[in-house]
Amino acid sequence: MRASPAVTPLASAIGALRLSPGHDLVKGPDGVLKAGALPGLTSNAAMYSGQRLAIQGGDPFRTCCAMLALDGQAEAMMPLPSGLSDEAAARLTASAGTGRTLRQDELAGFLAGRDAPDRALPGDLDTRWLLATSGTTGPPRTVRHTRASIVRAVRPCADGAHARWGMLYDPARFAGTQVLAQALLSGGTLLVPDPVMDTAATIDWLAEEGCTHLSATPSLWRRLLMAPGSARLPLRQVTLGGEIADGAILSALHARFPDARIVHIYASTEVGTGFAVRDMKAGFPARCLHDGIDGAGLSVRDGMLWVRPPVSDLTAAAHIERDGDGFIRTGDRVAVEGDRVLFLGREDSMFNIGGVKIQAEEVEEVVHAHPAVARCRVVARPSALTGSLLALSIVPRSDDFDDAVLRRDVARWCRERLPPAARPASIRIVADLPVTAAGKLSRTDTP
């Protein structure tokens, strides 16, 4: 494989921006890393020079600072997702071949400059970024990235220095690394809420901190839109990724944040960042199948999207299916309709209902369009007669509803818009729907 193009370590790239020493680089509710403190921090990281390290999860502010400092110093670093059991963490680090794991208390000492070496060595290694997949379909697996593949999608930003990016993802996830790299390399500030804060408290803190750029999954955005404080976020950019962005969520976001640019990103841990769509419409233009988009090659085979990442050596993991031309099978089902390629859903959320294949996301899109529904989820329930049936859970938009009337109304809505096999056999009303650590709607947890 060819070597990745040389890209300077994050700290050097940020240094080259010549930000004022008082500029906030990374800010959390209880701490801040100023631009003036970065050189000292990278010197501290020299004690880990050339090592292969894992970083224990838990405090995303510390994790972000550590990743910033270790890039260029460590031979490889693997931030561990929050909430991972010790056993799962041990399995991951063993398979990734990291030597030691920096615990949270060691991180605190490291960030405070304890045990710092007297003489710092320049950190210019091409640090490998080892990231864990979300493990929704099995145990988490490791995907090897290079610095080049992490920063590839970063776009220069005219008003970058005034951009204050909210970090709603775990920095150990690919989506989190993208927010980190975009915020810091364009000269902005990364605002990292404490994960113990609930949705309302997170929004309040981000609003107080003047958050201008925010990236989240459609599931998280639907949750944010339900919080009254969200209108106070002074957003100039709204980014969606990780799940299908349908027309309903795009127009709801435009209505709430009329001054914000809305971008939806296609990315996966396997492919890296694929491409961004900025025209506020669901899916992406069909001409991209011919021309590619943002340097990525695209192809549709038997309804499955294949993507050839622009950086050919960016990932290596045994579970990734790749063809001879470097195209990766994404697991995302798509359909070409007119001049648009629309996402139908993940192949593992396609159910067989009495012999008819039904994509859960397509049913959810129809239900989301119902005016009284804020969020919804479709899962399969076993049926002795048809193999499985669809069970729908909905979160109402307001508290003021009659249970039986709402369920009947949504059932009628589905009957008028969906073929028989795609109509939910049962509808229940719930207060909330679980999302995974990666911010995606969970189809396995009980609401």
């Binding site: 209902i353 009495g354 329930r381 076993p382 049926s383 002795a384 007669l385 048809t386 049936l389 069970a391 249970d403 039986a404 369920r407 059932a411 009628r412 009957r415 028989p420 096999a421 109509r423 056999a425 049962s426 229940r428 009303i429 719930v430 207060a431 909330d432 679980p434 009980t446 609401p447």
Partner: protein, 104 residues
């Protein structure tokens, strides 16, 4: 997580599944589902009515069974090892009666 739908709990207490009660409940749900899809009156459900001649297909019966599970708290079709395919309404009722939970 709060369950905001009290009607999702079995509406009928265990031990109340007499044949007559089951007949009434199943017929009422059948009628309700029929009216969701048809403008005409539902066909009467007699003991010898052949289920698949009612105008309901197997998908509709699967939904009926799922809704009865939500309402009664049991699904006879998932409770037996041997596959059972009731053909008449009477056989359908027999099956529900046989599998209904008994009072302690």
């Amino acid at each position: 997580m709060n369950e905001m739908s009290p009607s999702f709990e079995p509406a009928v207490p265990a031990g109340a599944f007499t044949r007559d009660a089951l007949r009434t409940r199943i017929a009422a749900l059948f009628d309700e589902m029929w009216r969701e899809d048809h403008d005409s009156d539902p066909p009467p459900l007699e003991d010898d009515t052949v289920l698949l001649e009612t105008g309901f297909d197997s998908m509709a019966f699967a939904v009926l069974v799922a809704r009865l599970d939500d309402e009664l708290g049991f699904d006879p079709f998932t409770m037996t090892e041997d596959p059972v395919y009731p053909q008449t309404f009477s056989e359908f009722l027999d099956f529900y009666e046989k599998c209904a939970p008994r009072p302690q």
